[in-house]
Amino acid sequence: MDVAIPFLLNTLTLISILLVVSMGLAIIFGLMNVINLAHGEFITIGAFTLVAVQAAGGSFWLALLVAPVVGYAIGLALEKILIARVYKNPLHAILVTWGLSLIIQQVLVLVFGASPQRVSGPFAGAVDILGVSYPLYRLFLIGFALAVFATTIVLFRKTRFGLDLRASIQSSEMASVMGVNADKINARAFALGAALASLAGVLLAPMTAVTAYMGINYLARSFFVVLVGGAGSVGGVAAGGAIIGGLETALSYQVPTTVAQALVLVLAIIILRFRPTGILPA
């Protein structure tokens, strides 16, 4: 039990973060077939929002509210100015979003400096769970991230926006014939994905070193979640997140983290060999 419970909770921490990050990516990929290499930078933007809010004297909770708004606004602006022009050509989308990613990183370095930023979480202590002590903040993170994921699912399944979104993912032509405004849906979905990533950035920040390059680590993982799970479906994200997050945590108990990540990549590639469209495609 002493080993099993922290292991389970560590796994849940990574999975819940991956779920929130990958959800946005999966929607954008499933909907527009755009591979958004700047997705990791929205995580970074979220984390730096926390840095800025705390530097201005605000609390963690304020940042948790502000970051999604910042992410949504930046995402919406970038979609309107740049991304909307490259939907037709996936390769162009890759190059443009990669260019954006490099620019955002350097702008953050120029504004905040290259050294890691200091942020503080809302809770310091640890709690006892079945005789095992575990950081309170991580428990909060798991609960909050899962709640956000659940909210997204409700948004996806129960609202008019979600209906239009799912219709567009299935067939964007048919959806627009039925009166769905594709440009509007694309823009809002992209911004929503950015907002979710920013939120994840705030949640992550107290546990890791906040640097301009932190997003890239989560970019590759969340792409594997989407590739392994299947693009454009909630079930796919959940399955992919569980597999990638679970595998990486389990492996990192046995081998160094780098090797664990390499092994996860190898396994993801092997899974792709047999299921090129993922485990649960849309």
């Binding site: 591979i35 996936p90 390769l91 162009h92 260019g99 590639i269």
Partner: protein
């Protein structure tokens, strides 16, 4: 040559119009490079030698990307594997100095080839194409650079490895700048000419056809997955070769030789020269390298911003590459050709 030209012309004007000038330019370029050491020497010559090797690396990417239209975002992995293979083999194992460089070369190039066969088999035979391929190769570079930084007992971690000896074979050492320049030049010339020859011919046409419609080509009886895999492996092996020799020339390896930024830069070198032209990849490397020296001397942070802006401009303003853009400006044509990516 003439047989090949006749052969391609039967399939339409595009390959003929696109490839023939690039062969001419290639011969001219190589002629200029061959006599360069007469006019310059010392440090300048050794920096030209480095550009030649990076040009060989760019050529390797263009062989795959330019001809199949599938973008590898992880080519620095193979360059880095070549460099690290060479460095680790020559500095760690205490091998007989007579065979040292050969063992290093085989290790580096072999690593690049093996990794490309494994990765290529699973993703190309799994039907992973286009954007998915780009993502998997991107992740490959990320992991490779993490291993290069993290596994410091073997790779030297952040500071890399120093003391890679100059390349030597059968007792002859390429320690002199002129000798190592000609080593790099010979490798580049051979690879470039062979690549042009092959891409003019049957295999080039098959690859082109696969890019247009893979299912159709397979229906015609070609093993397209095997052709793609073979091209990928050749491309990765050349990248590994460039990396291994590069390490012997600079005398050290560092994690930035296997980093994502290098994967990105090599795409720009190829894109500036025009992807698919092969010779253009080498010329693009020369142009961008000079530009990078100027911009980096102004500010280190400016260079990634420049690359980022370049990617966005490339797509929005020159979606078919810079040479195509300028050629179009020079000779406006009535009939628009399809974009060659």
């Amino acid at each position: 040559m003439s047989a090949n030209v006749n052969h391609t012309s039967a399939y339409g004007m595009r390959p003929l119009a696109k490839l023939k000038p690039s062969s001419l330019i290639a011969v001219l370029l190589l002629a200029v490079l061959a006599v360069l050491p007469v006019f310059i020497d010392g440090y300048t010559l050794s920096s030209y030698r480095d550009i030649l090797l990076l040009g060989l690396f760019a050529l390797s990417l263009d062989i795959f990307w330019g001809r199949t239209g599938i973008l590898s975002f992880g080519h620095a992995t193979f360059f880095g594997l070549g460099a690290y293979g060479m460095a680790v083999a020559t500095t760690r194992f205490g091998i007989d100095p007579y065979w040292l460089s050969v063992v290093g070369l085989l290790t580096g190039v072999g690593l690049a080839a093996i990794v490309s066969v494994l990765v290529g088999y699973f993703i190309l035979y799994g039907g992973v194409r286009g954007a998915y391929f780009t993502i998997v190769t991107l992740a490959l570079t990320l992991i490779a650079s993490q291993i290069a930084i993290g596994w410091s007992s073997v790779t030297g971690g952040d500071s890399g490895l120093i003391g890679v000896p100059p390349f030597s074979i059968f007792g002859y050492s390429f320690i002199d700048p002129t000798a190592s320049y000609y080593l790099a030049f010979t490798l580049l010339a051979v690879c470039l000419l062979v690549a042009l020859k092959v891409m003019h011919g049957r295999i080039g046409l098959i690859l082109k056809a696969i890019q247009d419609n893979e299912v159709k080509v397979r229906t015609l009886g070609y093993r397209t997955q095997f052709v793609l895999l073979a091209t990928f492996v050749v491309s990765a092996t050349i990248a590994g070769l460039a990396g291994a020799i590069y390490a012997t020339c600079t005398g050290f390896v560092a994690p930035d030789m296997i980093a994502l930024l290098l994967s990105t830069e090599v795409i720009i070198w190829v894109a500036v020269g025009g992807s698919g032209t092969l010779t253009g990849a080498v010329i693009g490397t020369f142009i961008v390298w000079q530009l990078q020296q100027k911009i980096s001397s102004y500010s280190v942070a400016a260079w990634p911003i420049f690359i980022g802006s370049f990617f966005i401009l490339l797509v929005l303003l020159f979606p078919r590459g810079l040479p195509a853009f300028f050629l179009e400006k020079l000779r406006p044509r009535g009939k628009k050709e399809k974009a060659v990516q």
